[in-house]
């Protein structure tokens, strides 16, 4: 593809003609699902087009976002971190949303949609447990039973969230097959969905999966970027750069969408660099993957020469996934967003720095966005930077127990 082709694709994305009717974002996207699910996918697509633009549906959604989720979330200036980095740093505070992460924007929207479509039961997957908690909460709110699949490795490392899901009335099913993290949880949720595609509603938690999910999730998360842009313009001005962490890519696509047309704002997705660049040591799909098909979509993936999906690693369960939303694959292809990595250690250091300088404990996922921003700030002095604080770190306390404060130089240094 030439530069003109890329520009034309990006223009189509900006003017709203992507995804197209086949659910494609240029070469990426689509609907690679078992035939049993095709009628359900068609019904869901029709439902999305009917209800998302519907005035009554929107009124209900906006009301829930305001009074139940707690939107708009704050835009917080980070003065001490700004001094430390030599930048003007702002946080978009999705950690302040109900249940502690951006995931709730998506789950309340989809739960309302499921209700409108007459679903009997909600099925969801979760990695870090944030989407599981947000699904359980939204299902309780709209009055639908909820089953959450969670890899048994994640059940162990995100224990507080498992208890929260139970409290909120969800059934949590540990997944013991495959890689026993988010990827296998999605496999299992899809198997459940297939067993009753009419009665079940699959509440997918990121901007991944078959069409219309990448579109639906993006539309429901776009509130992040819309609010942030308005808030920044009121208080300071457009940012020079915006950073978001990328697992499946839902908080990132939600943040980026508000700024896609602002060419003066450089956009950065930060993937999990894990322990290093070797295959299997990270979850840096866009930085080191190739095109392939997994979980219903054609996108960038980590797989070996035989087409087998690669096991991934990240200290952060929410980023530990070998694929990424197809719209990110397009944004990378056309060059509008740059995808970089932050290692486990860099994310942990950024988390400590944010705690000690700003009094905010970010989720390990969000700490990757901070670490990416910090690297960039070091090379680009005096810039205005927006960081998507996708969630709070309370859920990560069991993991953080393995990394005592002061474990790295320059982490906790309140006197600096």
């Amino acid at each position: 593809m030439t530069n003109e082709d890329h520009e034309a694709l990006f223009e189509s994305l900006l003017n709203g003609s992507l995804p197209d009717d086949e659910g494609r974002f240029g070469p990426f996207g689509g609907r690679y699902v078992p035939e049993t699910l095709m009628p359900a996918i068609d019904r869901l697509t029709a439902g999305v087009h009917r209800y998302l633009p519907d005035a009554q549906f929107q009124q209900e959604l906006q009301s829930e976002l305001k009074s139940w989720v707690g939107r708009p979330t704050a835009l917080t200036h980070a003065p001490r971190l700004s001094d430390r980095w030599g930048a003007e740093v702002w946080f978009k505070r999705e950690d302040l949303a109900h249940t502690g992460a951006h995931k709730i924007n998506n789950t309340i929207g989809q739960a309302l949609l499921a209700k409108a479509l007459g679903a009997q039961r909600i099925v969801a997957e979760t990695g870090a447990g944030q989407h599981g908690v947000a699904s359980a909460a939204a299902c309780a709110r709209v009055g639908l039973p909820c089953t959450v699949y969670m890899g048994e490795i994640d059940v162990a490392r995100q224990a507080p969230n498992v208890d929260r899901m139970h409290r909120l009335g969800a059934e949590v099913v540990p997944v013991t097959s495959g890689d026993r993290t988010l990827r296998s949880a999605i496999d299992e949720a899809i198997r459940d969905w297939v067993s009753d595609p009419k009665g079940n509603y699959y509440l997918l938690g990121s901007a991944i999966g078959p069409h219309p999910y990448p579109y639906l999730v993006r539309e429901l998360q776009a509130v992040i970027g819309r609010e942030a842009r308005t808030q920044l313009l009121e208080r300071t001005g457009l940012p020079d750069a915006a950073f978001a962490c990328v697992g499946g890519g839902s908080n990132a696509i939600g943040l980026f969408h508000g700024f896609l047309a602002d060419r003066s704002t450089a956009l950065f997705g930060v993937e999990a660099g894990g322990r290093g660049v070797e295959l299997g040591q990270n979850s840096a799909t866009l930085a080191s993957g190739r095109p392939g098909v997994l979980h219903g979509t054609h996108t960038m993936l980590l797989y070996d020469d035989d087409g087998q999906i690669q096991e991934t690693h990240s200290v952060s369960a929410g980023l530990d996934y070998p694929g990424v939303g197809p719209e990110h694959a397009l944004l990378q292809l056309v060059g509008r967003v740059e995808y970089v990595t932050a290692s486990d250690d860099e994310a942990l250091a950024a988390l400590d720095e944010c705690c000690s300088l700003e009094g905010i404990l970010p989720a390990l996922e969000s700490a990757h966005a901070l670490a990416g921003a910090k690297q960039w700030a070091a090379a680009n002095r005096g810039k205005r930077i927006l960081v998507g604080m996708s969630g709070r770190g309370d859920k990560d306390m069991p993991i953080l127990a393995d990394y005592p404060v002061n474990r790295s130089k320059g982490s906790v240094d309140a006197a600096a």
Binding site: G30, Y32, V33, P34, D187, D306
Partner: protein, 253 residues
């Protein structure tokens, strides 16, 4: 005759239902793959060789288990082709590959069709490739006369059923129940109406599968369909050390 037409012919039998057998390549053991294939081929009318995949999202626990073990045994699509190329016996029944899309995609569709033709493979079944997304693979297979088998399910609306039956090649794979492979719940009550509807929409042989385990089920399916497909139950027979031929023959009415 084109491989896909040979496949159709092998499945449309006078007076008895055809039997399509599925097993995962290199399961339970890698070394016995060709022996199992030879025996299964001699007892079935067509054979689906399962290409293992890390994320078999349309499969139940039996196929998942076989897939995982096969991967641990070092089985890959390339290895399967090499084995087929190196065999020293004729295949008495047509052979298909059943694979999720990504291993095929990684192999490259042109190379895949070429290699399949060379090694005596008649066609492909791809459970995560609905017709709408099948263009590039279908084009590569068509060029070599290889079949891309379409699946239909009880959830498939009438017009879609007609469309899928008209574009399928080799045979039409009628999934007996909404769900994953390997169910032990038996056939749904309305399976006869469903199979009759598929049959009347298709000019190709119709073979029904998912959860077929017993002779009685084969008999019921055969009232309306041309054949049955047996997978998880065969894998379980292999796990139990039973002779695949004996097991398959025990299913024939």
């Amino acid at each position: 005759m084109l491989p896909r037409d040979q496949l159709s012919d092998a499945l449309k039998l006078e007076g008895r239902p055809s039997l399509v057998a599925f097993f995962t390549a290199g399961y339970p053991d890698r070394d016995t793959f060709l022996d199992v294939l030879k025996e299964v081929c001699s007892a079935a009318d067509a054979v689906e060789i399962g290409v293992p995949f890390t994320d078999p999202m349309a499969d139940g626990v039996t196929v998942q288990r076989s897939s995982q073990v096969a991967l641990e045994n070092g089985v890959s699509l390339g290895w399967i082709f090499d084995q087929l190329a190196g065999r020293d016996f004729e295949l008495p029944a047509p052979v298909l590959l059943m694979s999720y899309l990504n291993p095929l995609y990684a192999f490259g569709f042109e190379d895949l069709a070429e290699r399949a033709l060379e090694t005596g493979v008649s066609g492909f079944i791809v459970p995560d490739l609905p017709y709408e997304e099948s263009g590039p693979l279908k084009q590569a297979l068509d060029a070599k006369g290889l079949a891309l088998v379409q699946l239909v399910t009880p959830a498939t609306p009438k017009e879609r059923l007609a469309k899928l039956c008209s574009v399928s090649e080799g045979f039409v794979y009628a999934v007996t129940r909404t769900g994953i492979t390997g169910s032990s719940e038996g056939l749904p009550n309305d399976v006869s109406d469903y199979l009759a509807a598929v049959k009347s929409a298709s000019s190709l042989p119709v073979c029904a599968g998912f959860g077929v385990r017993e002779q009685e089920q084969v008999r019921r399916i055969a009232e309306h369909a041309d054949g049955v497909i047996v997978g998880s139950a065969l894998l379980e027979a292999l796990e139990a050390g039973r002779s695949p031929r004996e097991f398959l023959e025990s299913l024939r009415p």
